[in-house]
Assembly symmetry: C2
Homo-oligomer: 349 residues x 2
DNA sequence: TTGATTTTTGCAAACGTTTGCATAAATTTA
DNA sequence: TAAATTTATGCAAACGTTTGCAAAAATCAA
C-alpha cells in the first residue's frame, strides 16, 4: 500500500507556525480565534488541498454527524420515498445518512443495529421488519442517549419516539368506502399480526363492518406476507368457491395489484363484480387499468416529521421522557377500481 | 451529555491482567496469540458487553470496511435493485454500504464524493448524474489508490473500471424489433447526450434504421430529461400533427409508460396504431395494459459484477493499469405494446 | 508607565484501536 | 542442565482531530 498523500492540520500548522489547536479552532470557526488568523488558516487549507478526516474527528467527539436508517427494502415505494426525503432534509442540517436494508429479517436488523452503533451514528431511524417483536437490540442506543425514531412499522410497548400513519382510520375509511359503494361481502388481506400496523388496519376494517351491521366473518380475513406470490395463493383460496366477495381491502398495493391481475385471469370484472382498495398509493396503482383506489400515507410529510423529531432529540439530550406517538394523516384516494355502479336506466323526457 | 457507559479493550485488559495489544490481537484472531488467551479474551469481551469502536479502528487502519455508493435516485427501479444486490453481496465480504443519492445534481455528486472520501470509505461505486461530463472530482480516490467502479451511467474518457449494459445493442434491438413488427416511422425519445449511455442507444437506433434503408429523420429524435413531465410535453409535440409515427422507442420505462398514457387520451390504439418499446424492464411495464415491451438489463448480474470487480481492486492494489469496460448482456422482452398486427382474414372451408 | 482585563494562542492530553520491535516465557535440542 | 530456538506477550507510538487549562499577547484604564 503506497504512502498517503493526504494533508493534515499538522501540515497547515507547520506552514503558518501555529499550533494544531489554533488551526483546528480556526477551521471550526471558534470565536476565540482572530479573524486574521482564521483567514490565513482557511486560505492555507485550500492551498494545501486539506480534507478533514471524519474518522478522527468522530473518534475525538464521539459523534459522526451521521444518521443511520434501517428500512425493510428500498425497492418498496414507501420506504424509498421516505429515505429520499430524510436524506434531503438531513443534508440541510449537515448530517449524512447511511441507508441500510433489513430485508425483513430480524437477524439482519440486529446485525445492522450493532454495526451502526459501532459506527457511532448520532441517531437512528427505523422501520422495523414484519417480525420484530422484541426490541431490546435497540436498548444500546437508548442507554447511551443516542436518539432513536421509529416510523411506519413501530414498536408497540417500547417507550420511544414514534411517527406513524393513522392505520386504524386507514382501515376504517377503506372499508367504509367499499360499503358505501355497495359492497356487503368484503375480504381483508392483512399482513402478519406480529406487526402492529396491520393489527390497527384490521381493527379499522372490523369497526367499519360493525358500524354498518355487517358481520365480521373469519373466513374473509387473511394474514400473510404481503408479496405477489402470497397474494396469488390467497386469491386462489378466495375465488375457489362461490359466492365470491364483492369487495377486497388489501393492506398493501402489491397485493391489490395482484388481486386485480388474478381477477383478469378468472374474468371477474373490476369494479363491476369486485371492488378493490389498496394501501400506500404506490405509483403503479395509477397506471394500471382500471386505476386502483388506495390510501395515501403522505410519505413526504412523514419523512419531514421524522427528521424534525430526530433533530429535536439530538439538540435536547435531556433524560428520556414519555413519548407521545405522532400520527401522520392519511387520505383515501378513490379511483376506478372501486367506482360506483354505472346506472343503466334513462329518464324519459 | 452524560458519561459513556461503553467498555473498551482497556477494560478487558485490566480484568485479565493483559496488555491492550494482546487483547486487540486476540479479538482479531492474530496467529501469534495462544488459543487459551484468545478464549479468555473473547469470553471477557462478551461478559463485559464490549462493542468495537469502528471510528477508532478505522482511524488507525485508515480503512473503514465501508463502501460508498452514489446513484441518481433510489426511487428508480434500476438503481434500487442494484443497490440491494450490491449491499447483499458486500455483506458476504464483511463490508457495509453507504447509499447516497445525487438527485441527478452534479454539485451534489461532488459534495458526496468529498464526504465519502472524508469518511475514508474503502471503495466507491458510482452511477453518475445525467450531467456529469467532468470527472476530476473522482481523482482524489484514484490518487490515493482507493478503488472506484462505475456502472450504468459511466465516464467516457476516464481510465477507470466500468461495468455497463450493452446500450448500443439495446437501441439496435428495440428499433429492429419495431421494424420487424411493421413500423416504418419510428420516434426515439432519448436522454440528454451529455450522458454517454444515451449516445449509444441513439447509435443503435440509427444503425437499425440504416440497415433497413429507413432514413433517419431528425424530427423523430428527441433529447430530454426522462421524466414523466418531459415525456408528456414531448408527446404533445409528436402528436401535434399528422402523420403520426407508427413506433416509439423510449430510452426509459417512465417515458414509455407516459407515452402509453398519452395515447390513451388521444385515442391512439397501442399496439394497432402505434407500437411502444421501453428500457430497463421496470415492474410497471408488466402490469400496465397492454404490457410494454422493454429491454431488460439484468440488474442482478450487474450488481454482482460490480461487487466482484470492486473486491478484486481492493485485494490487488497494484498500480492503476488500463481498464477494459465490462459489458453486461441485455435482452429485449417482447410484450403486447409491440405485438404483431392481428390478421383479420378467415379462410373459407 | 504600570496594573488590570480581555483576547488569543499553545501545551498536553484525550479519544479507542492496532502493530513494529523488543523482551519474556516456553519449548526443544544438545 | 545449559543453550538455542520458538512462541507469546508487552511497551510505546501511531492514526488526526479537538479541547481544558495555562500562558502569552494585546488592549484598556488609572
Amino acid at each position: 500500500m503506497s504512502k498517503r498523500t493526504e494533508k493534515t492540520i499538522v501540515d497547515i500548522a507547520e506552514e503558518l507556525n501555529l499550533s494544531v489547536s489554533t488551526v483546528s479552532r480556526a477551521l471550526n470557526d471558534n470565536p476565540n480565534i482572530s479573524a486574521r488568523t482564521k483567514e490565513k488558516v482557511k486560505k492555507m487549507a485550500r492551498k494545501l488541498g486539506y480534507r478533514p478526516n471524519a474518522l478522527a474527528a468522530g473518534l475525538r467527539n464521539n459523534k459522526s454527524k451521521t444518521i443511520g436508517l434501517i428500512v425493510p427494502r428500498i425497492s418498496m415505494f414507501f420506504p424509498a420515498t421516505i429515505s429520499t426525503i430524510i436524506q434531503n432534509k438531513l443534508q440541510e442540517y449537515g448530517y449524512h445518512l447511511i441507508i441500510c436494508q433489513s430485508n425483513d429479517s430480524y437477524e439482519q436488523e440486529i446485525a445492522l443495529v450493532n454495526t451502526l452503533y459501532s459506527a457511532r451514528v448520532d441517531g437512528l431511524v427505523v422501520s422495523t421488519t414484519l417480525y420484530t417483536t422484541d426490541f431490546s437490540h435497540f436498548d444500546i442506543f437508548r442507554t447511551n442517549n443516542i436518539p432513536v425514531v421509529f416510523f411506519d412499522r413501530v414498536p408497540k410497548d417500547y417507550d420511544v419516539k414514534v411517527i406513524k400513519g393513522d392505520d386504524y382510520l386507514g382501515g376504517y375509511l377503506a372499508t367504509s368506502h367499499l360499503i358505501e359503494r355497495g359492497c356487503r361481502d368484503i375480504v381483508h388481506i392483512s399482513g402478519p399480526l406480529s406487526c402492529n400496523l396491520y393489527v390497527e388496519r384490521v381493527a379499522g376494517y372490523k369497526k367499519a363492518l360493525q358500524q354498518h351491521q355487517i358481520p365480521v366473518r373469519k373466513n374473509r380475513l387473511f394474514y400473510q406476507e404481503l408479496t405477489r406470490e402470497s397474494a396469488w395463493q390467497t386469491c386462489k383460496k378466495i375465488f375457489s368457491q362461490k359466492p365470491y366477495p364483492d369487495g377486497i381491502f388489501a393492506s398493501n398495493d402489491t397485493t391489490a395489484i395482484t388481486v386485480m391481475e388474478y381477477c383478469r385471469t378468472i374474468k371477474v370484472k373490476v369494479p363491476e363484480e369486485l371492488k378493490i382498495v389498496g394501501y400506500s398509493n404506490d405509483p403503479r396503482t395509477e397506471i394500471i387499468s382500471p386505476p386502483i383506489s388506495s390510501v395515501d400515507q403522505y410519505p413526504a410529510m412523514m419523512g419531514e416529521r421524522v427528521v424534525a423529531a430526530l433533530m429535536e432529540l439530538i439538540n435536547s439530550p435531556t433524560a428520556a421522557t414519555k413519548f407521545t406517538p405522532e400520527i401522520i394523516p392519511i387520505q383515501l384516494l378513490e379511483r376506478e377500481s372501486s367506482a360506483a355502479p354505472v346506472k343503466h336506466g334513462r329518464k324519459k323526457k
